[in-house]
């Protein structure tokens, strides 16, 4: 009989296979093929969910080095994988509609999906690292092929920041195994052989650098605005880029179990940094005149919350952080796409064009609803995340939670200001008449919104996935 343990593996590599097939497929079938693969991947994910998460599949990959192929999709990782599969599908949907001759873009989306799913499924540090870097390549190519005039700068910055962090992480990974004396790099083995003492702190810092770049966390965030600003106007690469912000997940799955003492020790500083990131970037977002940059900073601000939750090591906060991480992908991604739609209609990403909603009510309405999700209006998924993060963080450090809480005000300020100057107010004389949503665009914005609302109201399915996983991870800390 078929072993369900293999499902994650199939789910991971199916998009890559699809991506390679796209090069062979005739031009006119590419959209359908890509969509089919994306749906199939999502279906597989749902199947894993339906069967209650997969078990751990552990194979020896490079026995001589103690590197294993360990994958598992359950708990938090399954939730994130599902969101990834879903948003990849949405991205495929929009890319097929928006980008002329989209074959390459679709292939890159699928290739990146493989990397992202791999990141979430990996239960071996080296495997994690490999997928972590694998996702980088398609992302770079999207920027290179479809980016804007100053993309080289953005590209170099993005790659340099990412690699700077991840190479330090690589050193830490090596250290984790050798200083701890684990036989393999598999998480289960590493957990049995923890590094102790000051070495743990140093290794944690190495790990942290990588994750802080990918979170991103101030001051390692500078790549993010440029990355989004220079990416293709459609916002499709931005969706994938948003999905790639996996720092919070990495910290949660690997850093906390492997560096329990260090994460406790550094908790105050890191929480402060995370709160600062949230507030700082929200404030910077307030000053942005370009939608992509604004969304970049908004996303950064969310990531500050995610980081705050993870760093606080409080159960509620960590669950909230994971919840936020998973669902912010939905609305942030959809917002990028809505910005792409705006750009398609008026050829501008400026936040001060004014009056779009007069012509495009549905587009404006959906965008507004997504913004409400983004600024954590209750009843949307973002609220559960942000509220839990703040609630949990407050139990640990009230002042930091207060500082982070200020972000909610700033978020309202930047979101509503930009929304108002773009969609509300009067359309200036001579402005291009704006077409409303058509065809699949309804789905592209509607589906994420519906899911964001559903999980904001009825969170049990997602919480049932995440809560036990978080509890077991935090149990390693000795019940703090």
């Amino acid at each position: 009989m078929f072993d369900p343990q293999w499902l994650p593996t199939i789910m991971i590599f199916l998009p890559l296979l699809g991506s390679l097939l796209l090069f062979l497929a005739p031009n006119r079938w590419r959209d359908e093929l890509a969509g089919f693969v994306a749906v199939l991947t999502l279906g597989l994910g749902l199947m894993i969910w339906y069967t209650g998460g997969s078990g751990l599949l552990g194979l020896n990959w490079i026995p001589a080095l103690g590197i294993t192929y360990s994958v598992e999709l359950s708990g938090v990782s399954l939730a994130l994988a599902l969101v990834t599969a879903f948003m990849s599908f949405i991205a495929v949907l929009y890319a097929a509609r928006r980008i002329p001759n989209p074959g390459t873009m679709l292939a890159l989306i699928l290739a990146m999906e493989t990397g992202l799913l791999g990141i979430f499924a990996a239960r071996d540090l080296i495997l994690f690292y490999v997928f972590f870097e694998d996702a980088l390549l398609p992302s770079l190519l999207m920027l290179a092929i479809y980016g804007k005039a100053h993309r080289m700068r953005a590209l170099v910055k993005f790659a340099a920041y990412t690699l700077f962090g991840s190479l330090l992480m690589l050193v830490s990974i090596i250290g984790v195994r050798y200083l701890g004396g684990s036989p393999t790099f598999a998480l289960v083995d590493l957990k049995q052989n923890l590094v102790t003492g000051p070495a743990q702190t140093w290794l944690y810092l190495g790990f942290l650098t990588a994750m802080a770049v990918k979170l991103p966390l101030w001051p390692l965030h500078a790549w993010l605005p440029d990355f989004h600003e220079q990416n293709h106007d459609s916002g499709v690469p931005d969706v994938m880029g948003t999905l790639y912000k996996v720092g919070g997940y990495g910290l949660f799955t690997f850093a906390i179990p492997l560096f329990p003492d260090a994460s406790l020790e550094l908790r105050p500083i890191l929480m402060g940094l995370a709160a600062f990131t949230a507030l700082y970037s929200a404030w910077v977002a307030f000053g942005q005149k370009d939608w992509k940059r604004l969304l970049a900073y908004a996303g950064l601000s969310h990531m500050g919350f995610v980081a705050l939750g993870v760093f606080s090591l409080n159960e509620t906060a960590v669950i909230g952080a994971m919840y936020l991480l998973a669902f912010q992908n939905l609305y942030t991604g959809a917002l990028f796409l809505s910005v792409g739609m705006v750009q398609e209609r008026i050829g501008s990403l400026d936040t001060r064009v004014g009056g779009l909603m007069t012509g495009a009510g549905a587009l404006g309405g959906m965008t507004m609803a997504l913004w409400f999700a983004s600024i954590a209006v209750p009843g949307m998924a973002g609220f559960i995340g942000e509220f839990s993060v703040l609630l949990g963080a407050y139990q640990v450090s009230p002042w930091v939670a207060f500082a982070a809480g200020l972000t909610t005000i700033a978020a309202a300020a930047y979101a509503l200001t930009a929304f108002q100057t773009t969609f509300w107010q009067a359309r200036p004389l001579g402005g291009i008449a704006v077409r409303d949503l058509v065809h699949t665009e309804w789905l592209i914005l509607g589906l994420p919104l519906v899911i964001a609302i559903f999980f904001g109201v009825y969170s049990a399915p997602a919480l049932n996935l995440m809560q036990p996983a978080v509890k077991s991870v935090l149990a390693a800390l000795g019940g703090s």
Partner: protein, 644 residues
């Protein structure tokens, strides 16, 4: 079998969903009727639940929701019905129904008629969630939900009503209106968010103190768990910040007058009768905490008193027919805060109830006038409207009498109770309350005389020579509300007037009653002072009217600029934060540019490097030789050093 509580928010939510997603299914005014009908149905549910209510509160849990709350069980979505929430549900659905009805006529010509009702339904649903919530987080859902609805409705005319016009001037005015409306909506949302942060912090602290956020559980746990008073005080202050934000109290008050940018029914429903009273509701709901926190309660009372004074002063010289009412609302809300601050929860809620009636009435009447005058809102261009709109005039007069605290009308009873409670605990606040009562009577008198009496002054400016009386659909809510504003006071006739405190004793089953220890003689004198204040105020207004000086009320610019509070905020908060945002953006790009220019330009190290990699083979040999010499020399030195 009583209908389940979740029907209350669900019915309007269904309306919202239908009207949002399938607006095409509801041509003409059918959407409005659907929405109104659903609210009516909700009102029926509320009445049924009210009638079927026992002494023990009902709690109905739907499903789990927030992670890890309340002793590691997930926090649930659940509704809680006690006397307080039943009353609130009645107010919301009842007055909501009337205002929906009114809106069918008022918004009849608007292009986005159906959308308006969707938003209204959404608001009512959120408000019901707010009052029925069994936990603070769920209440927060409603709390922010009504904020969102308020945002949507204030910004309903986001592009201005004339911005599509071909006429240049009209278009310019429309564009300006669009910007103003949008700004007002945003301001309301952001200021509410400030309050919301306070509310959230309050929740966090409560959770830290008691480990739960479920209201009934908290209420019981407060008695059992011993925590430092300072903690409770702080939590109550946090909650107060939340209440301040929502109820437009000082210092977060400036959004409320601006919120009048929304359509008039919105002002009546949200910014007078229901949403803004949520702060009062929150504090009343949290009475078990405030009882443990005397200092925080005192803060509440003072905030209320000062806001009442502020609102009254600012209302003195407004020229917008709705802004006068808006500042009046601020002021009246201050009264309610004062009441709950001094522990007179029942009096506060009672004033909430009566205020809901008369203020909704006044707003709707004002709306009728605005409608009749084709969107003219400046009271200086009105006057003599009683001739054109007799029915509306009568109901307006009822409203003015009610708010001025003239006996038999509801305002008299509710205000009197508050002033009595204030006198008992904080004489200074009583004095303020009394002054505010006088001012209230004056500015409402001014409003009345300017709009309804004297000569019609606006024929030229508005282009409406003969304003028409409101239609029937408009008159029905006005009539019902006027009746309510007149009669509702009799629900709670105080003992010294021979009443039985019916309202107090009903509410007393849910919230504690202040003990009345005032002598009847004192009560009498207090009542006389209060009535006197109302009469003097109205008389003062009449005298001014006779002297034709009402156009410009007292205090001049100071009052019409709302005590310059907006300017202060703009200077202290808004402008600096915009500046800081710009500066931070520059810094963010700058640090980045710095790193970038080092990396990309690399002129200095690059030049150095070219100098080194000079292309001369002997230069390369120099590196080699010096390298070797350094290595060997290092070793030799080490050997000498180690004494070999």
């Amino acid at each position: 079998m009583l209908p389940l509580l979740y029907l209350l928010p669900l019915l309007p939510l269904i309306g919202f969903a239908l009207l949002m997603v399938f607006p095409r299914l509801f041509p003409g005014k059918s959407g409005g009727w659907l929405a109104t009908g659903l609210i009516g149905a909700a009102f029926v549910v509320a009445v049924l639940r009210y009638l079927g209510q026992g002494d023990t509160p009902a709690q109905e849990t739907l499903w789990t929701w927030l992670p890890n709350m309340a002793l590691n069980a997930n926090l649930s979505v659940g509704f809680y019905l006690d006397q307080l929430s039943a009353l609130m549900a009645l107010i919301i659905t009842g007055i909501g129904f009337l205002i929906h009805l009114y809106s069918i006529s008022y918004m009849g010509h608007d292009a986005r008629f159906t959308r308006f009702f969707a938003f209204l339904n959404f608001f009512v649903a959120m408000m019901l969630i707010l009052v029925l919530a069994d936990s603070y987080p769920l209440m927060f859902v409603g709390w922010e939900g009504v904020g969102t609805a308020s945002y949507l409705l204030i910004g309903f005319w986001f592009s201005g009503r004339g911005s599509e016009s071909s006429d240049k001037d009209l278009r310019a005015a429309g564009e300006q209106e669009g910007v103003n409306n949008s700004n007002a909506a945003r301001k309301a949302f952001i200021m509410n968010r400030i309050g919301d942060l306070g509310f959230m912090l309050g929740m966090f602290l409560l959770y830290k103190l008691y480990g739960t956020l479920s209201i009934p559980e908290l209420a019981t746990r407060v008695e059992g768990v011993n925590v430092a008073t300072a903690g409770v005080e702080l939590a109550c202050l946090f909650l107060l910040v939340g209440a301040i934000g929502k109820s437009g109290q000082l210092p977060l008050t400036t959004w409320l007058p601006d919120a009048m940018a929304g359509p008039t029914p919105v002002s009546a429903l949200i910014h007078a009768a229901t949403m803004v009273t949520a702060g009062v509701y929150l504090i009343t709901r949290s009475h078990f905490l405030y009882e443990l926190a005397p200092n925080a309660s005192l803060w509440v009372a003072w905030v209320g008193g000062l806001t009442a004074l502020y609102g009254a002063l600012a209302a003195l010289n407004q020229h917008d027919i709705k802004k006068i009412l808006a500042f009046s609302t601020v002021s009246q809300l201050g009264y309610m805060f004062l009441a709950v601050g001094v522990g007179a929860y029942s009096a506060g809620v009672f004033h909430l109830l009566s205020h809901a009636f008369f203020k909704a009435l006044l707003f709707l009447a004002a709306g009728a006038v605005i409608h009749a005058l084709h969107n003219e809102q400046d009271v200086r261009r009105m006057g003599g409207m009683r001739k054109f709109m007799p029915f509306t005039h009568i109901v307006s007069a009822v409203g003015v009498l009610a708010i001025s605290g003239i006996p038999i009308w509801s305002g008299f009873f509710s205000k009197d109770a508050i002033l009595a409670a204030a006198f008992e605990t904080q004489p200074l606040l009583y004095l303020i309350g009394l002054i505010v009562a006088l001012l209230t009577a004056f500015y409402m008198g001014r409003w009345y005389f300017l709009v309804w009496r004297g000569q019609y002054r606006g024929a030229e400016a508005t282009g409406v020579a003969h304003p028409h009386e409101a239609d029937t659909i408009t008159k029905i809510p006005l009539g019902i509300l006027a009746a309510g504003a007149t009669l509702i006071g009799f629900l709670n006739i105080p003992t010294f007037l021979g009443g039985g405190h019916a309202f107090d004793s009903y509410l007393g089953r849910a919230i504690p009653q202040e003990a009345h220890e005032i002598l009847p003689s004192t009560e009498w004198s207090l009542t006389i002072f209060a009535v006197l204040a109302g009469v003097v105020g109205l008389g003062w207004a009449y005298l001014q009217h006779r002297a034709k000086k009402l156009d410009n009320g007292p205090l001049g610019q100071f009052s019409s600029s709302a005590l310059y509070l907006d300017n202060v905020y703009d200077g202290l908060v808004a402008a600096p934060s915009r500046g800081i945002a710009g500066a931070l953006d520059t810094v963010d790009r700058g640090t980045d540019g710095l790193i970038g220019s080092i990396a990309s330009n690399a002129a200095a190290p690059g030049g150095l490097f070219t100098l080194w990699q000079s292309g001369f083979v002997r230069a390369y040999a120099v590196s080699m030789l010096l390298g070797t010499a350094a290595i060997i020399g290092y070793w030799a030195l080490k050997m000498v050093g180690s004494g070999a």
